[in-house]
Each structure stands twice: as C-alpha cells, then as structure tokens.
C-alpha cells in the first residue's frame, strides 16, 4: 500500500462504517431510498451507502509527511489502500446488517426506530441477505478504489473528477428547483430531468462531462486567467466600475430568472446577510462576542410593526396595540434604526467591563430577556404576546407592494447594498482601525489613546442598527410576527453565518448566509434532517477551514510569505534578524489570526 499505513486504512474505514451506520440509524438512508438523483438506479439512499467508503478512502490515501519527507502515493498505491479502506468501511457496515438480522431487526427497532425490515431490504438491494451483502461489499470496494485513485490522480484530473461528481449529485438534488427555474425561462427541462424527479441518465452523464471539461480547462488556465483578471481590475478603475454595473444588473434580473421559490429563499438569505453584517461589526470588527443578537432582530421587527400601524392578534380578533403610529415604512425604518442604535447603547453599557466568555454569557442572557419579553403577558398589550402581531406594512411605493417574494427581493437587495456599503466604509476608516486595535489587544489600544468604552458602545450601536434593519425587513417579508421567530437560535445562526464566512469579512457574511440559509432553503426534502446536516456541515467547515470560507486575513498571510523570501534575499548581513523573522512568520502563519500571548508582568 506504499506510503499509506495499514493502521490508517483500518481506522479510516471504521470511521466510514460508523458514519454509514449512523446515517442508517437516524433514518436518512431509508428516507431517501426513493429519491432518484440520476436515472432510476442512482438514488440518494444508495449514494449515502457508497459515499462513506469513498470519502474514507479519499481521505486516508492523501499524501503524508513521514519523517520530514512528503510521500505521495501513486494511483496504484491509492487503489490498493483505497480498496482496503473501502473494504473495512463497507465490511463493518455489512457486519452490522448481518448482526441486526441475526439479532432480529424488530428488536433492534425498539431502540433505533429507523432500523426496520424495509431498511434491511433496501441496503441488501432487495436480493436477500447473502446476495445483497455481496453486492453491497462489491460496491463499497469499488467506491473505495475510486476514492483512492481519484485522490492520487494528477491534479489536472483530480479536481475535475471530484467537481464533476459533486456537480452531478447537486444537480440531482436540486430537482425541484432547477426544472421550475428552467420553465420560468421558457425552457422545457425534459431533456435533463425525468418527470418523476432526478436527472435522466443521459442528462446526468451530460452534466458530469460538462463539469469535468469546464473544470479541467479552468485548472489548466485558471490561475493565470485569475491573475490577469485581478491585475486588470486593479489597474483599470473603469473595468472595476463596469464589473460592478454588470454584477448589479445580474442581481437585478436574478428573481426573474430563478422564479418565486428561489426568490423566497434569497429573501431569507438577505435578511440573514443583514443580521450577519450587523453582528460582524460587533464580533468581527470590535471583537465583542455577542450571543444575544436576536434582541435587535426582534426589536427591529416589532418596532417596525408598531410604527407602521400593525394590529395585534387576540382571541377576540384584531386589536390596536397600546402604542401605535401609522408612519410610512421608509420613515418608520429610519426611526427603528435610530432606536435600535439606542438599544445597542443600553445593552452595551452594562457589559462594558466584561470580556470574552463573560461577555458572551451576559449578552446571551440579555438576548433571552428580549425574546421572553415578546411572549410575556406584561408586554402583550404592546406586542401581542404569544399570538403576536399582524397586518404589517408591505412597504409599498406608489401602489407597488414588496410582499411577494420576487418583489421583496428588490427591497432587501437595496438594504443589503446599503449595509455592505456602510460596513465597508466603516472597516476602512479611523473608526474601523480603532475597533481593529481594540479587538487585537484591548488594554494596549486603551494605552494608545483609544477610548475602549466609547468604541465598544459604538460597535453595539452600529451593530444593533444594522441588525434591526434585518428585523424590519423580516417583518415586511412575512407580514405577521409571532415570538417563535425570535428565539435564541437566531443569535446562534447569525453568529454561525459570521464565523463560517470568516470573522470581519464582508464577502464572508454573504457566502456564510448563502451556505447556511440558502442551501437548507433549497433542499426542502431535508427539512426534518436540516439541523443534523447543518451541524455536520458546521463542524466539517470549522475543522477544515477554521479561518472561515472567505477569510479577511488571507492577504496578510500572503504578505507573510513574501517577507521570508524578501528578507532572505535583501538582508544577507542581518542573519540573526532573518532567522527571527522566519520563526515569527512560521509561528504567525501557524497561529493565523490568533493574538499574541497575554499581557506582561
């Protein structure tokens, strides 16, 4: 097996088996046994059977550094090691099936309700235990070999293949979205999708081939093209403006292209982009871990309702709230934002002296207070208690309502662009610099003349203002409010959006919201397993890419690498200095954005 130790193959295979068994026992495998992705044979359930051995083999056969030497397995080594890994993975899974049958699957089912005779039938391909197991093991073996070979194929081959597989599966998964969008565009999707759902066999192969070819072309000329594009954009402001216009135009016609369903999802995504941008100011720029951010979301939504003439739901029908104004949406939203900034100061004031974990706990409590208040009897005359509020303005301008998903999109887009602009301007200003310094080392920032009190409060106020905008938009989107929309999960989701994208990174917030809100929104089939998948994806991304999907420190990393080479060339005299620099760079690179060790004395 060449450079791959047998121990790794067995270990990786066992992990694959655990994943398989887990997927089967939580019911995912059986639930999606009929969901056809490509043709009639490739169902999502079957993909879930072969994916664990494949991924395990792919990971196990990666190049390793042994005693300082990087050892890259050949494809043949990869095939052998992948076969071993796949065999262990599927073998252990098969053993579990045999055990369940021997033990009587109905007894297993008393604990694991998903372990049904149907499940056994499905995983043995309805061919009886013996024949089914043989077939299953053969499939696992093949996917293990595939994983090992693809991992160690030349890079020009590897990434196109992986991308091709991923693209085909994704197109198959989006079978409820893409055909609808195609019809919206006047294209009959028959040539690609079966009437019953998944891709046709020909369509699947077509998608795979196109993805592979496109990706191969990009792998060959991509980096050079990217560099060319980058320097063009850098050197020609006119090109940049043109690109921006094209981007805006694309965003402008997007809802017409994608139809109501995706527009609806995009609307939710943009509400969370606003929340993420606001929280990014507090957590990403100023470094204040706020777990009670839902407070601003709720405040924005309810305050907008009250100021724009919504009514309360009561058992006796609609009632006027204790306080109410009938402002135009666009005036109301300005008032809401200003009030939310004030609320930010109120929430910020008591926690000024707290840092890190303590700050997180206290803000968690403050957020919880707000979401409990929305359900409380005490505030019921104002916000309607558990039954909530309805009749919220649709933000119409001259008779044009923004309630429909495809219309709401434009309203949300306008606010998102505004918030991105403000975030961007703030980050590259004296204020942003002060926040940055405070995040890196609060005590030193203070000693260098930055009033940490003032800038903490400012961060809470600005973050609160942007977050309330998200709440106000949300209220317009759904038209009625109940406390169920304002639970602690909102805080956690917003924080996950920011961290997943990369702390302090504006594109990161957009990508984070698209991944965390957009994907689950598109994959409605997974509704009951949404949180499970969500958690898995979060763990995976944070392990593989702790700095976030679009980190804002990358530029600095690149610069650090420059320093090593430049010093080695430019300063042959100061050898000591060069070594120190190198050590510092290595440490800095490994630690990433971690601040230096704690304060003196």
């Amino acid at each position: 097996m060449g450079p791959v130790p047998l121990r790794s193959a067995i270990g990786g295979g066992l992990i694959g088996a655990v994943v398989s068994i887990y997927l089967a026992l939580v019911g995912l495998t059986e639930r999606f046994s009929d969901l056809e992705l490509v043709g009639e044979q490739v169902t999502l359930g079957r993909v879930l059977l072969v994916l664990p051995p494949f991924v395990a083999a792919y990971v196990v056969t990666r190049p390793r550094v042994v005693a300082g030497v990087r050892r890259v397995p050949t494809p043949a080594h990869g095939a052998v090691a992948g076969a071993a890994t796949g065999l262990v993975s599927i073998g252990a899974f098969a053993a579990a099936i045999v055990f369940a049958e021997w033990f009587d699957v109905n007894r297993v089912r008393q604990v694991f309700i998903a372990a049904s005779p149907t499940l056994i039938e499905f995983v043995t391909f309805e061919r009886g235990l013996a024949a089914g197991i043989v077939l299953l093991i053969a499939l696992g073996l093949v996917s293990g070999v595939a994983g090992g070979v693809i991992r160690n194929a030349s890079p020009q081959l590897r990434s196109p293949l992986v991308l091709g597989i991923a693209a085909t599966l994704l197109m198959g998964l989006l079978q409820r979205i893409i055909p609808v969008a195609m019809r919206e565009l006047g294209v009959e999707p028959d040539f690609l999708y079966e009437p019953s759902g998944g891709l046709t066999l020909a369509g699947g192969i077509g998608v795979f081939v196109i993805a592979v070819v496109a990706s191969a072309l990009w792998t060959r000329s991509g980096p050079a093209a990217r560099e060319r594009a980058r320097s063009t954009v850098r050197e020609q402001p006119a090109t940049r403006t043109a690109l921006l216009v094209v981007l805006l135009a694309l965003l402008g016609i997007l809802p017409l292209l994608v139809g109501a369903v995706i527009s609806e999802v995009l609307g939710t995504v943009m509400v969370f982009i606003l929340l993420g941008l606001g929280l990014n100011i507090v957590v990403g720029y100023a470094g204040l871990l706020d777990l009670g951010y839902v407070a601003f979301f709720a405040f924005g939504a309810y305050a907008l309702g009250l100021l724009s003439g919504a009514t309360l739901n009561t058992s006796a029908g609609a009632a006027a709230p204790a306080f109410s104004a009938n402002l135009n949406f666009y005036i109301a939203v300005i008032v809401v934002v200003i009030l939310a900034a004030g609320l930010g100061l109120l929430i910020g004031a008591p926690v000024l002296r707290l840092r890190g974990d303590y700050l997180a706990i206290v803000t968690l409590g403050l957020g919880e207070i707000v979401s409990i208040l929305t359900q409380s009897r005490w505030l019921a005359p104002l916000v309607g208690g558990p039954q909530g509020m309805r009749g919220i303005t649709d933000a119409e301008i001259a008779g044009y309502s923004f309630r429909a998903p495809q219309h709401f999109y434009y309203l949300a887009l306008a606010f998102v662009i505004l918030a991105i602009f403000v975030s961007w301007r703030l980050s590259s200003s004296r204020v942003g610099r002060a926040w940055n310094a405070m995040r890196e080392d609060e005590q030193v920032a203070d000693a260098m003349g930055i009033s940490t009190t003032r800038y903490k409060l400012l961060a809470f106020a600005m973050g609160g203002a942007v977050g309330s905008l998200g709440g106000a938009l949300f209220a317009v989107k759904i038209g009625s409010l109940t406390p169920a929309s304002f639970e602690i999960l909102v805080s956690i989701t917003a924080l996950a959006v920011v961290i997943l994208g990369g702390l302090g990174s504006i594109p990161g917030v957009v990508v984070g919201a698209l991944v965390l809100i957009g994907l689950p929104g598109l994959l409605r089939e997974f509704e009951e397993y949404r949180l499970l998948i969500y958690g898995g994806v979060l763990v995976a991304i944070m392990v593989l890419r702790p700095q976030g999907l679009v980190p804002n420190v990358r530029r600095m990393r690149e610069l650090q690498e420059d320093e090593v080479t430049q010093d080695a060339w430019a300063n042959p005299k100061t050898e000591g200095e060069t070594e120190e620099t190198y050590a510092a760079v290595v440490a800095g690179g490994r630690l990433g954005a971690e601040p230096e060790e704690e304060i003196d004395e």
């Binding site: 200003s429 890196e440 600095m556």
Partner: protein, 263 residues
C-alpha cells in the same frame, strides 16, 4: 496640587498586589526636557510604576501629577491624550494590523472623525486620514530605513524582534507625546542595535523635543543617555543623581549584588 514645575511627579505612591508591595512610598519626579533612567533589580517595581503613571493600575495610596494635574483615576486613553506615551516591557503590538496601521493607531487620539466621516467621507475626513498617514510615516521614519518601504504594508507579526520594538516606539511617537516612557527598550537587542537605540533615545529629546523616562538594564545605555538616574528597590527609591553617583551608591551596589541582576 503640585507646584507645577515638574512635568511628572509621584508622591508617596503605593501599590500592592495581595500582600506583595510592588510600590511603597515612592517619591520621584521628571523635569521637562530631561532624560531620566530608572534602574533596579527585577521586581523592584519599575514596570508597576509605569503602569500606575499610565493609568493601567490605580495606586492604593499617594498621588501622580502631570503638569500639575492629578492623573489618578483617569483612563489610560485619557492620559495618552494628555501627552504621555509608553511602550511595554514585552512587546505589545497589534500583530495582524500592518506596520503602518499600527503607527496610525497612535494618531487616533489626535484626530476626530467618527461614523459620519467614515461613511460619507467628506473632504475634512479625507484630509484628516491623509494627515494621520503622513504623521504615522514620519514616526516610522524616525528609525531610518528600518521600518521604511515595503515593510510598512506588512503585518506587524512579520517583523523581526528588534523591529517590533522599534515599531512600538514609533507607535508611541505617533501619539505626539510630551513625555515618552520606554520600558526596557533594548531588551533582547544585540550590541549593535543597542548602541543604535541609545542614539535614538537621545534624538527623541534633541530632535523631537520629548521628555524621556526610560527603564533600562543595560548600563552602557543608562550611562550614555541619562541626565539623571533613579534607582528603585522593593518599591521605593534608594538612590538618585547622576549616573556616577548612583552607580557608586552602596545601597545600589548591594541591591544588585544581592540579586545578581543584569549589569
């Protein structure tokens, strides 16, 4: 109130941590335009004195006056704004900000633009930003080519150790101080760099017009720069005077021999 002839004056300052007296009854002063060195064995209370003056610690007893005004109870950032800048014994930069940004942070307390300026960028803000950049560059250029050119766009944690120390001083210079307080500026530097820094300290006064208060272990530096030397031990002043007076003071000799500290 102080009579105001001293730039900085400490009267009977005490600071203890639990049962440990880091400072007890410390009296000392710094006159405008002086370079004063503070020496003493490890644990003598030198850094604690710095932290009390710059507001990181509040003294348990006694008073600190700067230009006749009490500093006790002020926040560190307010003290910096009054014109007292400092560096730290162990380097404390903003490691992921660029070298230039680090120095620009120093100018923060001399500038004003806020959220409105940041978002709308009126001409006044653009001018101010340009001025901040200019002042920061000037501060970096105090160290000649050491912090010049491409280095200014690099993150601070990519600098060599000696350059980090220099950057910390540049950041302090960028706050436009009257009194600059340097906590062991030559620690960890090699002999050449140490001599270079000795000249820098003198230049800080002669060229930039600062008053300098420096904690230093390297006696060649102390001898080379000091108008006056103050020796601390066990949190109180044990000797004061010219370098020769202090170096020959029996109590100082005993303090150093007793602990065998740096020489």
């Amino acid at each position: 109130m102080s009579d105001g002839t001293h730039l900085l004056e400490l009267r009977n300052v005490a600071k203890h941590f639990g049962g440990l007296y880091a400072l007890s009854g410390l009296d000392m002063h710094v006159n405008p335009g002086e370079i004063v060195s503070v020496i003493g064995p490890n644990g003598a209370g030198k850094s604690t004195m710095f932290n009390v003056v710059t507001g990181l610690y509040e003294p348990d007893d006694g008073a600190v006056f700067y230009r006749g005004e009490s500093l006790v109870g002020l926040a560190p950032n307010q003290i910096t704004r009054l014109g007292v800048a400092r560096t730290f014994q162990t380097v404390h930069l903003f490691p992921n900000m660029t070298v230039l940004e680090n120095a620009m942070v120093g100018q923060h307390c001399r500038t004003k633009s806020g959220v409105f300026g940041a978002v709308f960028r009126p001409p006044s803000t653009l001018r101010e930003e340009e001025r901040i950049r200019q002042r920061a560059k000037e501060a970096l250029e105090f160290f000649g080519s050491r912090l010049a050119g491409y280095r200014q766009e690099q993150p601070a944690n990519a600098l060599s150790y000696a350059n980090r120390r220099r950057l910390e001083m540049a950041r302090a210079i960028a706050t436009d101080p009257t009194l600059i307080m340097l906590d062991e500026p030559t620690a960890g530097m090699n002999p050449t760099e140490t001599l270079e820094l000795r000249d820098h300290i003198v230049r800080m006064r002669d060229q930039l017009g600062f008053t300098v208060l420096v904690i230093e272990h390297d006696m060649r530096v102390v001898k080379g720069v000091s108008d006056r030397v103050i020796a601390l031990d066990y949190g109180r002043k044990i000797a004061e005077g010219t370098y020769d007076e202090v170096a020959n003071n029996p109590q100082v000799v005993e303090a150093y021999l007793g602990t065998k500290a740096a020489g």
